[in-house]
């Protein structure tokens, strides 16, 4: 149990650091949020009223204190640009980013693992070479470029995928159909990451003694792969999924921009350009916290699955 508590304390400290980084970074940002809100027409005294209203004139530490106090109370503050509670804005749009992220990770794992196994099995053969080049190519293509090509090839030429976002609640099937393209654009580079990891792990497991014992028991190669090697290989694969989350969320920001999906990625970019500091701070902390929490959960899951390590 001590391991569990230690892990939680580490996590909270990391989250605390995350909030400090994302808060302080935006304190020294040029450009004045009040001005960009009220726009070029506003008079100076109007801007000052808004600045005091938003406590922009108080020293950073006090602002941070209030900010964290409110977050813990559940009030994430109000977006300057949309003058609406940030919790609402994120609430409306988080569904898009999460379903996109989960969908992308599922694709990456569903294709990555078999690809990794094939890579490992045909490691030094001609076929193996083509496979590994193919999976590396996935990593090499910039996500947004891939997105654009998908958009045009499947969006226009084949008129395959509609671009109008439909939420899961309204119509789950077309929700998935619409998210397929962006999810694939996001997943392609992750597939190669998963495949490479899978291949390395399998190659490592193949050398292990228990595989030789299995052979000596008279098990056929395929059975050994399925019952012994893959199971042992799957345990560390879970940590890969943890690693993917940061990359997928980062990629989602760009892919949402290309496919014009109303996720928190587009909201963030919108916030950065319009200097909507409260909104941007909350979103960045939110994304970073999601990454930290998921990695924490993966760690715990990893311990539960692997009997060798007791909590």
């Amino acid at each position: 149990m001590i391991y569990f508590i230690k892990k939680i304390s580490i996590m909270t400290f990391t989250l605390f650091l995350v909030s400090i980084i994302s808060f302080s970074v935006f304190q020294i940002i040029p450009g004045d949020p009040a001005l960009s809100k009220l726009g070029i027409e506003a008079s100076q005294e109007q801007i000052d009223i808004l600045r005091t209203e938003l406590m922009l004139d108080k020293p950073a530490s006090i602002q941070y204190f209030y900010w964290i106090k409110n977050i813990l109370k559940g009030d994430l503050g109000e977006s300057i640009r949309f003058s609406r509670p940030i919790k609402e804005l994120i609430g409306e749009r988080i569904g898009v980013t999460l379903s996109l992220g989960v969908y992308a990770i599922l694709i990456a794992v569903a294709i990555g693992i078999p690809l990794g196994i094939l890579n490992a099995k045909y490691n030094n053969t001609k076929f193996g070479v083509c496979l590994s080049i193919f999976s590396q190519a996935g990593l090499a293509i910039p996500e947004f470029w891939l997105g654009i090509i998908f958009l045009i090839v499947f969006g226009i030429i084949f008129k395959f995928f509609s671009l109008k976002y439909i939420s899961f609640g309204d119509d789950p099937i077309s929700h998935i159909r619409i998210l397929t393209l962006p999810a694939f654009a996001l997943a392609i580079s992750r597939i190669s990451v998963v495949a490479r990891h899978m291949k390395n792990i399998i190659l490592e497991e193949e050398e292990k003694d228990y595989v030789r014992t299995a052979y000596s028991k008279g098990l056929s190669m395929n059975k050994i792969y399925v019952f012994h090697i893959l199971q042992n290989a799957l345990v560390p694969t879970i940590t890969i999924i943890g690693m993917l989350t940061a990359g997928v969320l980062g990629g989602a920001i760009v892919v949402e921009q290309v496919f014009n999906l109303p996720g928190i990625g587009t909201l963030l970019i919108n916030g950065v350009t319009t200097r909507d500091i409260p909104l941007v701070q909350v979103i960045i902390t939110y994304i970073a916290s999601v990454v930290v929490i998921i990695n924490f959960l993966i760690d715990i899951l990893y311990k539960i699955i692997d009997p060798r390590i007791s909590i």
Partner: protein, 314 residues
């Protein structure tokens, strides 16, 4: 004759082709415990892997290993798979890593029965408990459910042995089964192997680098050096070959009290350094000039005592 190996050669083809085992010939009689002894790197483990056809892809071999009337080297992968575990089985050196960490030990024993026998699930469990009992494991039901990391080294090796004897194979190969264990467990495992060999009529090929251990356990002992068998004897004390004698001198024992311990000059040549002539010639105290040119034959001098040396029994 359970198994007979004739002119077995094993090569490694990394950059160039290297010969690791050089036309090895020996046999193991029914119910006999045959020792295969030599310093590390002499090719003894390779031989065991060759018999099981578990050599790495970059190794090639020639010669024949006759077992149950067939040459194992010519069998197809499928035929070999059905043989392994049923007629030949193996015990490994590292009990810690020899078992799959994610499966319960009981299940790993039952797996062998599942492959080779048509016993039902319940019957397999009973047979497994029976086997665990035979290898002197305690509170069987509980141990059955345990994972490998929850058992001690000795217990784990007993599980491996249980796996090996599950289908009453003709031949069991034990590749340094006790090296990784502490001395007390070592003697228990050796006694267990002796007991099992007497009770059942399987033959045991015992591979080790510990001369003392092999001396007590085995009916016959083959001493290997740099890919060749240099001597096959029944009792260590009547060893004739200079290498065997040097090995015996190097064992600290009360007889040599007061004398400093003897150690063989030089070191074991690597694969690429092996030259023609008697392999032991460069380090042999009695080496003559001819030893460096001719590779002596392994000749049978006296009933069952074979020696590969030009000057012994002249």
């Amino acid at each position: 004759m359970t198994i007979e190996i004739k002119n077995l050669n094993i090569y490694f083809n990394e950059k160039t082709k290297l010969q690791a085992v050089n036309n090895l010939s020996f046999n193991v009689k029914k119910g006999e415990i045959m020792g295969l002894v030599g310093e590390s790197g002499c090719g003894k483990s390779l031989t065991s892997l060759a018999i099981m056809r578990l050599l790495r892809k970059n190794a090639s071999f020639s010669g024949d290993i006759n077992f149950l009337g067939e040459n194992l080297l010519n069998l197809s992968a499928k035929e070999m798979t059905s043989l392994r575990g049923r007629e030949i089985s193996m015990i490994f050196q590292e009990p810690l890593t020899a078992l799959n960490p994610l499966h319960r030990v009981g299940k790993q024993i039952a797996e062998t029965l599942k492959i080779h026998t048509s016993l039902s699930k319940k019957e397999r469990k009973e047979k497994t408990l029976e086997l665990m009992n035979e290898v002197n494991l305690k509170d069987l039901e509980d141990t059955y459910k345990k994972f490998p990391h929850e058992l001690s080294g000795g217990q784990r090796q007993r599980i491996v042995i249980a796996i090996a004897i599950a289908c009453e194979p003709q031949l069991i190969i034990a590749d340094e089964p006790t090296t990784a264990l502490d001395v007390s467990t070592q003697t228990q495992i050796i006694d267990l192997l002796k007991k099992l060999n007497n009770k059942k009529d399987h033959s045991l090929l015992f591979i080790s680098h510990d001369l003392d251990l092999v001396g007590d356990l085995c009916h016959r002992i083959a001493i290997m050096y740099a890919g060749h068998i240099v001597e096959i004897i029944e009792k260590l004390k009547d060893a004739k070959h200079p290498y065997t004698k040097c090995l015996l001198d190097a064992i600290p024992s009360p007889l040599h009290k007061g004398k400093d311990l003897y150690s063989i000059p030089g070191r074991v040549p690597t694969l690429s350094e092996r030259k023609s002539g008697c392999p032991f010639a460069p380090r042999c105290p009695m080496a003559k000039e001819k030893c460096h040119e001719i590779l002596p034959e392994l000749l049978e001098k006296k009933d069952g005592h074979l020696v590969r040396c030009l000057y012994i029994y002249r």
